[in-house]
Amino acid sequence: MKNLILTTTALTLVASFAFADGHAKTVRLGTEGAYPPYNFLNDDGEVDGFERELGDELCVRAELTCEWVVNDWDSIIPNLVSGNYDVIIAGMSITVERDEVIDFTQNYTQPDPSGYIALSMDVDLAGGVIAAQTGTIQASHIASTGATLVEFATSEETVAAVRNGEADAVLADKTYLKPIADEDASLMLIEQEELLGGGIGLGLRESDGELKEKLDAAIGAMKADGSLNALI
């Protein structure tokens, strides 16, 4: 009898610790879910891709409980700032403008060259109509050149705009465009590339210094032991 009570007490204690631990820090990861291979929804409707694996691994290393949230690209920063989730992990390049509003961890990919895809190789990149996703580094790059910028809410729509002739070319991360160009014979990657942004990092609220340190350390550890490169 005594044993039973002791065991029960011990179990309860352990359980409540586990419970308290689980409740101590749940980190909500916000992503777009529409930018393969970084993040996309798989056939089961779950978040998948490079950033899913990376995010899960970082959470294990930083000993955090993580939850995935899908959010529109357009409102991804405002919703972070107002506290709907704690981290942006959505292929977001580190830029000075964004850094004024939110904080970034160290980058987890090198700056990925941006490429163009178009229906023909001889498209006029300097003065033509170029499509890009709203609020991306690619969109602000085109706005600074002589080309006409057309913006779309999702990157899927930018490619559709080229297919139906609304735009001459799309500017986006090359890793995003490559699988599309491989599969669709009518679309081709143009040789010209743009080197934009300072690599991709996790976005956090500026006031969230503690979480930033934890995730920074985890990214650093993954870089050091080569497991990050293995994922890429």
């Binding site: 409740h23 409707g45 995935w68 949230v69 107002s82 559709a160 500026e206």
Partner: protein, 293 residues
Amino acid sequence: MFSFCSDPSQLDGFYWLSCYLTTGKHMGFYASFGTVLLLLAITAPTALAFGFFGASAARSNLAPLRWFGKGYISVVRGVPDIAFFLFFIIALDQGIEYLRHKVKCSDWDQPIRQGNDFIVCDAAKMPLGSAPQWIHESYGFTLAVLTFAIVFGAFAANVLFGAMRAVPRAQIETAEAYGMTRKQSFWRILVPQMWVYALPGLSNLWLVLIKATPLLFLLGIEDIVYWARELGGTKTSRFTDYPHGDWRVWYFLFLLVFYLAFTKVSEIFLELLMIRLTHGQATTGGEAQRKAA
């Protein structure tokens, strides 16, 4: 879903389609129809209640209550839906968290607004950061219902306000002559008779409400239009077992059929309701029914 779905690239025709249409992602799509219908089922009566209180307040004898009713009707009707959704939801959410913060974390010494950031203590988060995703979604859903109810309630209030004034004055005079109080004549004479005047306006509101649900995605709720766009987008074989081209037109065509069918069903139902409400009323419709009987 089915046992033959393990390698979709070997399938074609009907088998491929039956596997494709039963992926987890498509289940999310089908479930979102339920979400939208549930939202409508909850929002419509709530908005009607808001409208009823708004209209009753607007014709109250008490000046402050009347001002409130009239203010509600004109302000909310004047603000664009999307602005109301973006502003009001964030303000409401932050307002709730601010109040919880004041109650639960009185020993908090940092400012709540730090630059762009809105920070409250963990215990004041609504819902709690540690809550599972479905609680966050239900919370967003509740906020959506409330916002829809406030917006559409204002329009409904204006319709009901007009309908109350459309009831012939003679009806109220008769009630007064019978010695009914103002309250009694309101509930016994005015309210039962006003619906027939309100129904055309309310049915318009209902049809607009059906189509306003894509605003849900602003609140992080995945509605049918979001899924149609996501599922219809081009899929390359590296990221899915079911690669396909740009199929958005088919998904949106399906939504078109859904919305048209829903509108038709609503119209049939509203027509039946109109016949029921006209029965015995002192209107041309009621008179026609009396003669036909």
